[in-house]
Symmetry: C2
Subunit: 449 residues, 2 copies
């Protein structure tokens, strides 16, 4: 399971199986981990997702639903399921996950779903629905490993084993053979529960996640969070156990990677220390600013080319900065959303294409709306309708370009193996500056002189 | 320990105690958790940190060192310690932490420190030093809970208990009294190790971290990552146990908060879904762009005011966009670093003040360097030394303002309780646009006409 990368071939296989008979599909699905199916769901239609959930065993279906990206709406699947299947799945879900999912539905739907559950489950979930989503109460699970302080050791162990039946995660121990080769994992629960004479090899689970020592830390973080592991074993090329990585290290990695993303997207070198002194900050940022100055010379050469036009219509210089500034901001918006999306999930070709189309559409609409506002201003304040038309066209065109470049440059960089966050706002605004000036001044020269 | 917030009074108490006698300082320090001392270190000088590490017991000192922000250089403390104390501390550190820290030192220093350790420890660390920092090998700890598959249950349990002696984290179980009040935690290890007739109350640890149901999720994430917990209990106002939050939920929260930060800083509403359609994207971004258009009218009114100047020196219009663009980028850099710093750590008043001074310095230097480049261009290409001087002054002044606003606006927002990331590049660039045009065109009117 070390290489969990899903690609187009997986999606194709699933899509084909969806058209064939149910048994083939079931067999194919059984080859994937629930969290992998949840990822594949992003490339499937709502109907296809519902069909798959329907034929999966309830305990797997519930895992898939709890792992699904909330943006593709697991609650809609629950809403449309056959009530009996739905109740089965709901009973398998952790209370906190069940609550998060159904809280997305209107009150009426929530009640309908809760009526199908046994009274205790329903009351747990109703209780959790009262806490705001972004508080500790909204995050917590009410199934807790707890013992009464008056119990004896023996009673406590029995109670712990009883309680842990309902909980998936439990401390895992790596199992090796005589040559220190990793052969699997075993949960402490299984050890404690077993007879005293049982051999560990009888308990070992050989379907587990591990990484090699040279695996990139971002990949490690993704695996740990995807499979909800407290730790992950590290092995060499011959499967010898080298060490383990725990979740707390991974939290640090995620924070570090996120800092790098924010800095790079803002034109700051990724290795600038947040609390570094001014010397380090100058060293980290000056190169980017000089680069920006170079691109600014490019933009200003466009302006120089149109100097005769500007000297005849001086008012253009005020609109120039407006067109360029708006283009830069719209490009930064498209860039931030696209970079963040790439860094959380790998996009398929189709998703990448859809992203560019979406950003182009957004840029066109936002450009037209803002262009129209400026058109009205030029019409009523400057009383120059043709000037207003020129500005409208330049604004719309420039924000369209902003959307296209803001989405396609990071996607292109990712494709050729470069960190997409390097497509900082500094680089992207070069396009919108140059193109914005060309459009505005070019159109003005043609239409206004 | 629920309220772990450290403030200025803690720092003052420590500073005072540092000047008094050693016993008072020791008593005071014993009131703090190691990770809290690590945070207090950020407000102390290098000498003060070394003094504290010297008088702390080695097992606490090692925890403090492993929890210290790497930006305040734990390796420098190790470097300067008395060799015997240093070896004691190094032996208490997890191998992965020890490796991360000494990897920051030059080879020669590394060798000197490793010579002071026993051969096995030194060889573990030397081994880990070979892995690149950002790979699984660089993250992993070589102390692993593992058992040989041929062991029996009894042998395995003995081995697990023996191995877990060396490891801090281990599964913890919440302990409640008859009214479900949380009285403490107990580690599974302690239960397994004890006699069969012992009562849990004899094993319970009442120094533990918990949260209330209404605690903000960011706070929960901070606690979990600060105290390296796999889960955290949630209680009501009367300490009744309500549930628990596990680390995997926290990873999701961190990713979500980071996405919001990146989006807000780029002028996108925090609730825009990354994979949302174009309608949602327009709804989320158009208001920001219209706001930006409003501020752009403000900037262009400055330009209109100076129209007579521009019509006499048309070349200024090319330099205008350069000054404004550079100011906007420099402000975005300062903003990104400051927002990220605030979101990872709370800053003291002194640190906030230092941040503004630092950004002001960085802005001044970067402005002067870039201004000088443009001065040379105006001198040699346009053959206009006075124009060059005006541009030099405007560039330097505008990047100075960029540094001040980029740092002080998010700090101010944080102080008045508003999310600092809302100080998006859109808002911040208004200042640099307006001020940049005022400076350039104002100076040009005075000095060039």
């Amino acid at each position: 399971m070390q290489s969990f990368e899903l690609d187009k071939s997986d999606i194709l296989k699933i899509k084909q199986a969806l058209e064939g008979n149910e048994e083939t599909l079931k067999t194919l699905l059984s080859e994937y981990h629930a969290s992998e199916i949840a990822i594949l769901f992003e490339s499937l239609s709502q109907e296809e997702r519902e069909h798959i959930i329907n034929i999966l065993p309830s305990e797997i279906a519930s895992e898939v639903i709890s792992e699904m990206d909330y943006e593709i709406h697991p609650e809609k699947i629950l809403e449309n399921l056959d009530p009996e299947k739905r109740s089965e799945i709901m009973e398998e879900l952790d209370y906190d996950d069940a609550t998060d999912i159904i809280s997305q539905l209107p009150q009426e739907q929530q009640d309908k779903i809760l009526e199908g559950l046994d009274a205790e489950d329903a009351s747990h979930i109703r209780n959790l629905l009262n806490y705001p989503e972004d508080t500790a109460g909204g995050l917590m699970n009410t199934q807790v490993l707890k013992v009464n302080s008056s119990l004896t050791k023996k009673e406590a162990l029995d109670e712990i084993i009883r309680l842990s039946e309902e909980m998936e995660e439990f401390y895992t121990i790596n199992v090796v053979d005589n040559s220190n080769k990793l052969v699997g994992i075993v949960s402490l629960k299984d050890i404690i529960k077993s007879r005293y004479t049982v051999h560990i090899r009888e308990l070992v689970n050989d379907d587990f996640v591990f990484v090699r020592a040279d695996t990139d830390q971002e990949e490690v973080a993704k695996l740990l969070s995807q499979y909800n592991l407290t730790s992950i074993p590290v092995v060499d090329d011959n499967m010898h156990l080298l060490g383990r990585i725990t979740f707390d290290d991974v939290i640090d990695v995620l924070q570090e990677e996120n800092t790098e993303d924010i800095l790079k997207i803002s034109g700051v070198s990724e290795d600038e220390e947040l609390s570094g002194n001014w010397k380090e900050a100058v060293k980290s940022r000056l190169p980017w600013l000089v680069l920006n100055l170079g691109t600014a010379f490019l933009a200003s050469s466009v302006i120089r080319h149109f100097e005769p036009t500007i000297s005849k219509i001086v008012i253009l210089s005020g609109y120039m900065t407006m067109i360029a500034g708006m283009g830069g901001n719209a490009a930064t918006q498209a860039l931030a959303v696209t970079v963040r999306r790439i860094s959380l999930n790998d996009l398929t070709d189709k998703q990448a294409y859809q992203t560019v189309i979406k950003e182009l559409t957004v840029g066109f609409i936002n450009g037209a709306v803002n262009g129209f506002i400026v058109f009205l201003f030029a019409l009523f304040y400057d009383a120059k309708p043709m000037l207003g038309l020129v500005i409208f066209l330049a604004m719309t065109g420039n924000l369209l370009i902003a959307g296209i470049t803001g989405a396609s440059i990071p996607l292109f960089l990712k494709r050729v193996g470069i960190d997409p966050a390097i497509a900082s706002s500094i680089i992207i605004t070069t396009f919108t500056d140059v193109f914005g000036f060309l459009l505005l001044l070019g159109l003005a020269s043609k239409l206004l002189l």
